[in-house]
């Protein structure tokens, strides 16, 4: 399960070892003996179903939850051994953004962003400069004097992000930072997080329910279930070779590249040829030669997208050669890609056309 890319020898900026956290006097094991290293510059996704322990695990990092056992080291400082005062210091170096933004409604946008600077006792003038810079960076310079209730969801989250970035923390924790946003706004916020990682070198730990967020933003991912990390590693590797059923379900929901049973049935009805699902391999062979198929063929379903900037996904092809030709084509394809054979389509159906409504 331990992928070499994650348990790197390098320089983990966050290192959790043997973390256990229970609630209700031990009745609930929210996090169960979890170890995790996050390297400098990672965008580490933590994914899992509700109640898996994601929030608890991440909140242990900045000591919003104190673990029952285990050790947390962030940027060389032992969080689990820190006193109240030191904890506050450490927390100032860890930015956090929240699902429901948690902005201070009584303060203007500028004052929200300036709050952590005030805590860090920045002089007023430097504070104003930094706030202006941040407002600019997240693209809401014109909203400085507004109050949070006057902003849209996406704008609110931008304020949340700017506030979390104010003290230039090395680490940013995001607990479902986009779950309260609509799809377009989600994309904007994810783009912003990507910029923060790329341009500012901030390490990001990001909790999400959505594999497509992982796919678009993260380089590593940990899948949690029942308080444990059941799968982890580089996103491309995990997507390409999921081992745990939970991981598979998440991938299916995110990519929608493989036809579901219902879709397969419909495809069968509308396509008479042989249907096959061709998946790109993670081994560097990022594609296969379409012209080498040797039989008439068309793409009827599927998606190829970028994961960590490499093509990833699968296509469903209809092969319209003779049975033997199709079999030969499949053999050839298998040299480049994984092929799942769905068999022949329903001959009764028309070759193309709409299944009536």
């Amino acid at each position: 399960m331990n992928d070499p890319a994650t348990t790197a020898s390098g320089d983990p900026i966050i290192s959790l070892s043997g973390i256990t956290k229970t609630f209700n006097g031990g009745a609930v094991r929210a996090v169960d003996d979890v170890s995790l290293d996050v390297e400098r510059g990672d965008v580490y996704g933590v994914i899992g179903y509700s109640g898996a322990g994601k929030s608890t695990l991440v909140r242990v990092i900045n000591a919003l939850e104190l673990p029952d056992s285990g050790r947390v080291v962030v940027d060389g400082r032992d969080v689990t051994a820190a006193g109240q005062g030191e904890l506050r210091e450490i927390r100032r170096d860890i930015g956090m953004i929240f699902q429901h933004f948690n902005l201070f409604n009584a303060r203007t946008v500028a004052a929200n962003i300036g709050y952590p600077l005030k805590l860090a006792k920045w002089p007023k003038k430097k504070r104003a400069e930094r706030v202006a810079e941040l407002l600019d960076f997240v693209g809401i310079a014109d909203k400085a004097k507004r109050y949070p209730t006057q902003l849209s969801g996406g704008q609110k989250q931008r304020v949340g992000i700017a506030r979390a970035l104010a003290t230039s923390p090395a680490v940013l924790l995001a607990d479902e930072a986009t779950s309260a946003l609509d799809p377009e706004t989600t994309r904007e916020v994810l783009d912003l997080l990507r910029r923060i990682n790329r341009e500012l070198g901030v390490t990001i730990v990001l909790i999400t329910h959505s594999m497509s967020v992982v796919q678009h933003l993260c380089n590593k991912v940990a899948v949690m279930e029942g308080g444990r990390i059941v799968e982890r590693g580089a996103v491309y590797d995990v997507l390409a070779r999921p081992e745990h059923p939970a991981t598979r379900r998440f991938i299916a929901s995110a990519l929608a590249d493989k036809p579901s049973e219902a879709v397969t049935d419909r495809l069968r009805r509308s396509h008479a040829g042989r249907l096959i699902v061709v998946s790109l391999r993670a081994d560097g062979t990022d594609s296969f030669d379409l012209s080498a198929l040797g039989v008439p063929a068309s793409v009827v379903y599927g998606a190829i997208t970028e994961v960590e900037e490499r093509p990833f996904g699968s296509l469903t092809l209809e092969l319209r050669g003779s049975a033997d030709e199709n079999r030969a084509a499949i053999e050839r394809l298998r040299e480049y890609a994984d092929v799942r054979d769905l068999g022949d389509g329903d001959e009764a159906a028309p070759a193309t056309g709409k299944a009536g409504n």
Binding site: R92, H100, N102, L103, F104, N105, A106, Y115, P116, L119
Partner: protein, 225 residues
């Protein structure tokens, strides 16, 4: 039953009325200022020490709650007498308008505490978390984050309390204090002079309306929108 000698003896009553207005303003504003602040502190303590609170502390919470629940139900006239020795020790006098401020402040404090608690409980716990995560101390979060967040409804709460404090101040006459309430009772009610009664009560009503209006306006502004 129409009164016959109900008249406004201006030489006598007008200066008294002006003084009474001043006394009421003095009593009420000092009480609201001190009791409002102490009540804010007490309310913050009840809020912070409750189960799951930021300074969760069962014994302290129980103590403060019992204290509040103990003082609030005592009829004010009895409380006024009971606390008199303490009033005298603290205020240097057990008589007059100044002496009223002490018991009024205590009652105002516990009533304010309840109202503050209720409003703080209604604030979004997310902002507390955000403050802590940013490395603010718990006290800082309480006073500089939670309280400002609740300021809008708090102002409405204080406006509501204003009526209660004005009501209490009407008892000032009992210990030789002044103010509009005492004026209405002593020169109107006790002497069966309805005109005097209603002039004084009328001013109280106007005062309350003005404060409520201002409170509403401030709250609306604080609630932003």
């Amino acid at each position: 039953m129409l009164p016959m000698v109900n008249q406004w003896d201006s030489d006598r009553y007008t200066p008294k009325l002006i003084e009474a207005v001043q006394e009421t303003l003095q009593m009420v504003s000092l009480t609201l200022l001190i009791g409002g602040l102490l009540g804010l502190a007490l309310g913050v303590i009840v809020f912070a020490t409750r189960k799951g609170g930021i300074f969760a502390n069962r014994p302290v919470n129980a103590l403060v709650n019992v204290l509040i629940n103990f003082i609030r139900p005592i009829p004010f006239i009895i409380f006024l007498a009971a606390i008199r020795p303490l009033t005298q020790a603290v205020m240097g006098t057990g008589l007059g308008t100044e002496a009223m401020i002490f018991p009024m402040t205590i009652v105002c404090t516990v009533a304010t505490a309840r109202i503050v608690e209720q409003n703080l409980v209604a604030t979004d716990p997310g902002v507390i978390e955000a403050g802590i995560a940013m490395g603010a101390s718990r006290l800082h979060v309480l006073m500089r984050v939670v309280v400002p967040e609740a300021l809008g409804p708090l102002v409405l709460g204080y406006a509501f309390l204003f009526v209660g404090v004005v009501d209490m101040s009407a008892m000032a006459g009992i210990i030789g204090g002044g103010g509009l309430g005492a004026f209405a009772i002593q020169w109107g009610y006790q002497r069966y002079n309805d005109l005097v009664t209603w002039v004084a009560v009328g001013i109280i009503i106007v005062m309350v309306q003005v404060v409520q209006f201002i409170g509403n306006a401030i709250a609306r502004k604080l609630l932003r929108r």
